[in-house]
Symmetry: C2
Subunit: 198 residues, 2 copies
Amino acid sequence: MQTVDLAHASRLLNHGPTVLVTSVHAGRRNVMAAAWSMPVEFTPPRVAVVIDKSTWTRELVTASGTLALCIPCRAQADLTYAVGSVSGRDDAVRAAGDKFACFGLACVEGPVLGLPLVAGCLAWLEARVLAEPHAEQAYDTFFVEVVSAQADERVFRSGRWQLDDAPEALRPIHHLGGGVFATSGATVRAGELGRGTA
Amino acid sequence: MQTVDLAHASRLLNHGPTVLVTSVHAGRRNVMAAAWSMPVEFTPPRVAVVIDKSTWTRELVTASGTLALCIPCRAQADLTYAVGSVSGRDDAVRAAGDKFACFGLACVEGPVLGLPLVAGCLAWLEARVLAEPHAEQAYDTFFVEVVSAQADERVFRSGRWQLDDAPEALRPIHHLGGGVFATSGATVRAGELGRGTA
């Protein structure tokens, strides 16, 4: 993983991939999947992400004021769906310790906030929550500011996704619903569109 | 285009496609591209979309309290980038009338709010703005509630994207940056992930 300039952090999420949200507070940690996130500002890099009130992630994020976004690849579709389908409060999960232990996920520690970053993901962003109690309450929407960004240089270099020669296993995934994902597929460069004469 | 049940409207945006935002107020209309949108609620179907303060769309949306989201396909990558690269306030655009006339875009009228819906797109959503002045000011983020949804049944049926047999030209697109888009590519169904023994 290579450090990504914070000025390019929004590019990691610009195309709407599904992400894993990780969190830690008072020695307990969790990971969930989130299809609903988007950048809202380039500089400083800010992101909005929806975290339902029912989730344990919500409790940890609210208590710690931090979260990380990890961008999984196609090879991680099963684990993405798995961590999005069971709660960190589930008895079997807690018996194993947490979702990381339960599903055998390796982590590294985030460089700025120490958040758990899921190994094998294409990119990692650590972020601090910008307290917005109304948006959190009314729309389950958290606004966060990214403070560190890293990406797998096989697929993200020079501030851009480089997907043309990416193996299928290393492509970002986009949840269509019901456990079916579309990968980030073929790329197309927009050409000049002539203005009509109308 | 077939009507989409509002309970399934969030599915249209779940995978993070780039959209076109259309608006109309007092007889003037506009269209811009937006890579930054996401669902925030299933029922009622609510969406967040980022609309910069500098845009003419912002002025029209604020004045009318409505907007539409149109989901372009790969065949529309050029026009998507074009309407995202020039302002509706541009002299040449205004000389032509508006961006629709300038770029030769055909429209149909939205069934509930009468908004201009761009022909050839894969899906159309009309929405009313939920007034959130702080989020609009601080994060350029508009929260809206979808009141009508339609989709091209060749690629969206029974409340789901059906991309496995979709021709490349009819796939949604996701802006990577700088006029390069990834299409919604191959699909993968997540399998059961065995819980580890850790």
